[in-house]
């Protein structure tokens, strides 16, 4: 097994100590930090796959996110030192929709998406539709992610998609909704492109979109 494979395996096994240890060793051995971060993209995709298969649960994602965050923090100074920048796989504007101030799910999504290589613009919680619209204009993202925990969000998500349509920006972005209460009905009602109950699955869907677009 290559170091890279062993590294990814330790993340998937949620072995925090081992994953950080390998990252440290790789950096010390002078390996390109971009390669290490590239492995995180692969790991994030595999984590999504495991979630889809029912092998991973939210608690696993929280741990995986924590591990990947730790690795990114280790790598960042080295990256800076070498004057390198990680290639962004895509740009994501994300926020908890208007009326909802819960952020657990959204924060897991941010962590996972960043680890996967997305540039994430986090608009925070209780984000009104016009703020999503402004952010699309300003950052030109590939994807808009809307999160909600409580059912107030169902209406806000629809309003946000409507506002994006009215601004003539709907064709420019893919929209994914996520959270504990969303499902197919909610997706149809809001007019989004995809829904998920998990950040990992969400990241996997987003990576798929990016790959499709690249073709």
């Amino acid at each position: 097994m290559s170091v890279s494979e062993e590294f990814i395996k330790s993340i998937l096994e949620l072995d925090e100590r081992k994953a950080l240890e390998i990252a440290r060793r790789r950096l010390e051995a002078g390996e390109d930090p971009l390669k290490i971060l590239g492995d995180l993209t692969i790991a994030a995709d595999k984590i999504g796959e495991k979630y889809e298969k029912g092998e991973f649960f939210i608690a696993d994602l929280v741990m995986a996110g924590e591990i990947m965050k730790g690795i990114s923090e280790l790598v960042r100074p080295k990256l800076k030192e070498l004057g390198k920048v990680r290639e962004v796989v895509g740009k994501l504007v994300i926020g908890t929709v208007q009326g909802d101030i819960h952020d657990i799910g959204k924060n897991i999504a941010v962590t996972m998406a960043e680890a996967a290589g997305f540039e994430v613009i986090d608009l925070g919680v209780d984000v009104p539709p016009e703020k999503f619209v402004e952010a699309i204009k300003q950052y030109n993202p590939n994807i808009v992610g809307m999160s909600c925990l409580i059912t107030v969000g169902l209406e806000s998500m629809k309003k946000t998609v409507d506002a994006i349509k009215e601004a003539g920006l709907r064709d420019r972005v893919k929209i994914i909704i996520g959270g504990g209460r969303v499902d197919e009905y909610a997706k149809e009602y809001a007019g989004a492109d995809a829904w998920t109950n998990s950040a990992a699955e969400g990241v996997r869907i987003m990576l798929k979109w990016i790959r499709e677009k690249a073709r």
Binding site: L14, E16, G54, E55, F56, F57, I58, A59, D60, V62, M63, E66, G99, D100, I101, H102, I104, N107, I108, I150, T151, V152, L154, E155, G180, R181, V182, D183, Y185, A186, E188, Y189, N197
Partner: protein
């Protein structure tokens, strides 16, 4: 439009509330006792957001009189068979703080708007206070305890809650022994008792005017959720399980006793069911659920069962991966209320003849579907679960939105009245 069964029930519950009361009590008992009721009961829960159909959130959560008006309006328009309306936030930690005072513990189980004003807790945010006036209250919890403090919790959970957690989590309880602290605690208990009395009054009015039987509830909690919701935040406890597994296990175990104490406090007043809302359940993989979550919860359920209190457990999210563990409980242990298992019918089949199963109706379907869609959905569900023994239909406890069209909610009730026996 022709007159539908739901319209008849709306009229009948007003004209002959006693007969409807008897009918509802019977179908509920039958369902809990795993029999096929004369028709499938429909239940509805609200934590108050639905009431903003009629009153502004900043009013409804702070005015018990308006809660009564709204509760009566709700049942008058939507004649469900079983309802718990508690426009208040999760406040079980206060019950645990008072676990040794059974006359107070159950009355402060829910945190109302005025109670929030009194202690200024950081767990919740309220309309017209920290939130805009039109929003429902929101529970956000928080991290108030460090992993190193688990040992102190294990040694004495009630003391720990009182001396460490609440002073950090509530602004007005930050200095135990101070004048502000004493005043706040006393007013808090008084307010809890006022709220409880108002609920008793509301239940009596619902029974008298619309034949709705009250639900004889007491309250308990899953120990690990207690840690996640009030002490360490859900993500905190999820990391603790991996980083400090033994401490988490011991802490959950230490919380069983005070939680059971709270659960038994209302028994002398006729409580029969302990409501236990779960939160972390769906987030844990089976291995962690079985090792850290379920053993302590099971102990709570069994302890209460020994004292003739059945449990009424709300399995939040998709509980399907853990559903087999329910079969470890004695047959007829209580009510299993599912929010959104991936396959409700499969879950029902698994538990048929063992547990009373409640749920099956997606909140999003009620919010965004049509009466026709809902009718078809319920018909299909009742057919697939025929003859519907031990079944109660309900949307998840996750709030029904005030935007839910009246016709959709009525379609749900109507379908349950329509599709019985051969009509299924």
């Amino acid at each position: 439009m022709s007159r539908e069964p739901v319209d008849e029930l709306i009229e009948r519950q007003r004209k002959e509330p006693e007969a409807v009361y008897k009918e509802r009590a019977e179908i509920f008992e039958d369902a809990v006792n795993l029999k096929t009721p004369a028709r499938t009961p429909v239940a509805l829960f609200t934590c108050g957001h639905f009431f903003s159909k009629w009153f502004k959130p900043s009013v409804i959560y702070f005015d018990y009189g308006k809660i009564k008006d709204a509760s009566l309006k709700l049942i008058e328009s939507f004649p469900v068979d079983f309802s718990v309306m508690a426009p208040a936030a999760e406040g079980f930690i206060f019950s645990v703080a008072f676990a040794d005072a059974p006359e107070i513990a159950p009355t402060i189980r829910f945190l109302t708007g005025p109670m929030h004003d009194i202690v200024k807790d950081k767990y919740t945010r309220w309309p017209g206070r920290e939130l805009p006036e039109h929003l429902p209250f929101q529970f956000i919890g928080g991290e108030y305890v460090e992993p190193e403090e688990y040992r102190q919790l294990i040694e004495g959970p009630i003391d720990f809650v009182n001396s460490v957690v609440l002073p950090r989590a509530c602004e007005n309880l930050s200095k135990p022994g101070s004048a502000l602290y004493v005043k706040s605690i006393a007013r808090f208990a008084f307010e809890g008792s006022k709220f409880t009395s108002s609920l008793v009054d509301i239940n009596a009015a619902l029974a008298k005017n619309y034949g709705l039987p009250p639900f004889p509830a007491t309250f308990a909690y899953a120990p690990l959720d207690f840690i996640g919701d009030f002490l360490r935040h859900p993500t905190g406890v999820m990391l603790d399980i991996r980083r400090h597994p033994d401490l988490v296990k011991q802490a959950a175990e230490a919380l069983v006793e005070p939680i059971v104490k709270v659960g038994l406090a209302l028994k002398p007043l006729g409580a029969k069911y302990a409501f236990i809302p779960l939160h972390l359940n769906e987030m844990l993989p089976p291995k962690l659920y079985n090792e850290f979550y379920w053993p302590a919860l099971k102990e709570v359920i069994l302890e209460l069962y020994k004292s003739d209190i059945k449990s009424f457990v709300f399995f939040e999210g998709d509980h399907m991966p853990h559903v087999d563990t329910i079969l470890e409980l004695p047959k007829g242990w209580g009510i299993a209320y599912f929010e959104r298992p991936k396959d409700f019918i499969k879950v029902y089949e698994k538990l048929r003849g063992h547990s009373c199963v409640m749920g099956g109706i997606p909140v999003s379907l009620l919010h965004s579907g049509t009466p026709k869609k809902i009718d078809e959905y319920v018909k299909k569900l009742l057919k697939a679960t025929a003859p519907n023994e031990g079944l109660i239909l309900a949307p998840g406890v996750a709030e029904i939105t005030p935007e839910t069209p009246d016709a959709n909610l009525k379609a749900l009730i109507n379908a349950a009245l329509k599709y019985i026996g051969e009509n299924r």
